[in-house]
Amino acid sequence: MSKGFASSARMAFLGGLLLLCYAALGARLVWLHVVDREALLKPLAKVRPMLIPEAARRGDILDARGARLATSRSEILLGVDPHSLLPRDERKWVELAALIELPEAELRDRFQPRFRRAGARGEEGDDAGEAPVPFAVPAARGGEDEQWPITWVKLREDVSESVYERVRRLDIRGVYGIRHYRRVYPSNELAAHVIGYVNREHQAAAGIEAYADFYLRGQQGWRVGERDGRNRELPQFASREVPRRDGYSVVLSIDSTVQDIVEQELVQLAARFEPRKASIVVSDLDGFVLALANYPSFNLNEFNRVPKAEEARMKNAAVADIYDPGSVFKIVPAAGALEERLVTPQTVLDCTVSRLAHRGRMLSLPAEDHKMGNLRIGEILSHSSNRGAAQLGMMLGEERLERYARAFGFGAKLGFPVGGEVAGILHPHQRWYPIDITRIPMGHSVSSTVLQMHQAMAVIAAGGVLLRPQVIREIRDAANETVYRYGRTEIGRAVSPRTAAQIAAMLVGVTRKGGTALEASIEGFDVAGKTGTSQKFVDGQWSKKHHIASFSGFFPAAQPKVVITVIVDDADHKAPGGVAYGRTVAAPSFKRIGERLIPILDIRAGAAAVPALLVARQGGGAR
């Protein structure tokens, strides 16, 4: 080092000065970080931290083929802070109004700065108020007369992502959006009573939405971070983070195509007969419901527009309303008597008798719709003899008849997950009137849901086993991996496979010539089924002008693939002859649905299997 450099007093002075500066800086830092620390951190701790919630996406509801019946779409709730608007942006307001389809005058009205008194929160209605979390800006607090600026006015709540992108490009200060998920039902009315809906408060209100809400809703995430002076997040200061977990998807057994066929059929039924209500259920042989529809129905995307007076249309009538099952119930005493070996298929009963002794008392048998004679068990079913069914019931006796009725699913809930299922009415046999033993076998003095009637018929199709009706096939996580799969669930065995096969064979006679429902027959297939026509209880008496028409059956009878039940409530005024019989109203619907299901479900009467899509139309030249 040169002598001149080292010997300069100025240099020494400069060094000393630098040291002094360092010392001063250090002292200041110690002052700020130690002495004044608490005082300086207090306001920062209030302003800088931010809790950022991260909404979880609600899972989808899929049909059996993977089509989305319910999904969640990201939408933006667009609002404005009128106090942040700048005059230079005014020329963009017209474009904004056009983008969000709001009249310009209304937009300008909402852009007017407003205030409210401190004690008058919420008086401005839903469209105005403080910004929803996390954008709330606390107003200066004062006395009751303090004026609070209204910092958020809603402009529109269903702005799509693409429109919001264009709104953001306008760069109007004070206009901002809050992202949220909205439930969308792409198929509108399809399976409305099964799917249910999520209301405007994002609460699952009905159907699968409510039942499987635990799986569907997911878990909201959040992170604690800090923000800068412009309210922007400072990601490097994120201290805690809980990632969101999107909801699981629920795969239903409902097949959109089958459901659509059923709903089209209901539309036709409604147009033709103008019934009060109608329900159709289609299921497979494992108890999984392929379609369940009610008339009238509603659009899931507009559930809040159903008038108060018509809210009954939102009820799942197939599981929540009860009817007299009528002659469909006759399969119960017939199966019971066969199972107990009280009769054989060849047993002949005199169905002309009008009175019979039972437990030391003479009971009058119900009237027949037309003249009957000596009938075999199969003919009692195919001709729907009331007196024959009554005799079978009397052979069984009250205790066994009740036991078989319960074994077929009557009088108790079946465990269907949606729709507010009711148990129906089947009193304990100790409480029966003496005459009930002649009326219950023909489906009177007992009430059931449509689903119970359907499952009773499914007992015969499934070889004597009562299955739990199910509508959920699988639960899948956000990565589309199956986390739970529902399987066939047996409630109990009602009758032996042999008895079930015998009853199935007898029920084929119903849809053949001489049976009560030739209208339900399908060319090339053996159809087993049973009609039902029951009077309605109107104004305190059994009406002869109001009936419930039903048909429940399955096919192919030997190897059933599908069970279909059609119930039409009060279609008399448009029915042929003024009476809505199961034969004339419900059976043709069964046939039409069945015929359309054959190619879709690839139902065949014994031919070798071919791919479902490889079908040729005769009309198209494939000869």
């Binding site: 080092m1 080292a6 020494a12 990601p235 994120a238 031919a607 040729a616 139309r617 198209g620 030249g621």
Partner: protein, 154 residues
């Protein structure tokens, strides 16, 4: 011959010039100041460099965190746009809309039904070839339109 005494051998008190001691002391002091200044400069440089590195690192951390957050936001945005498009497609594929389009566009598609459907159980290629050859070899014109596939639910 007596050699003159060296400066080191001469007692300080007997040094010919007082300035000699003064230079010595001054030299020692200069060395200390020199060292102090050098170390000060080194400390300033090191401290400054460390500070700059720290600031740069913190900036990089912030920039990376922000970039990550932006990427996540971008992914979420694409996810949302994809979801929106998917929902739109699903809505357009609803049965009632397809039926409406079928009517509006006059496509003439009919519901699949058991009655007009023939299950082709033999070899489809052979069957089509047989039909085509029959048309070619026949005297009359070949049949037009062979196979029509119908859409479920229409």
């Amino acid at each position: 011959m007596k050699s003159p005494p060296t400066r080191a051998a001469v007692p300080r008190s007997s040094a010919p010039f007082a300035t000699s001691d003064f230079y010595a002391v001054r030299k020692d002091t200069s060395a200390f100041v020199n060292q102090l200044l050098v170390w000060l400069l080194v400390t300033i440089c090191l401290g400054g460099s460390a500070g700059l590195v720290t600031v740069w690192m913190r900036h990089q951390i912030s920039a990376t965190a922000k970039a990550n957050r932006d990427l996540a936001a971008q992914l979420a945005r694409y996810d949302r746009l994809f979801g929106e498009a998917r929902t739109q497609v699903e809505t357009e594929q609803a049965s009632d809309k397809l039926r409406h389009l079928n009517t509006t566009l006059g496509l003439g598609l009919v519901p699949m039904n058991q009655i007009p459907v023939v299950h082709v159980t033999d070899n489809v290629v052979e069957r089509l070839a047989r039909r085509a050859n029959a048309g070619v070899l026949a005297d009359g014109p070949a049949p037009v339109a062979g196979l029509r596939v119908t859409l479920p639910g229409l």
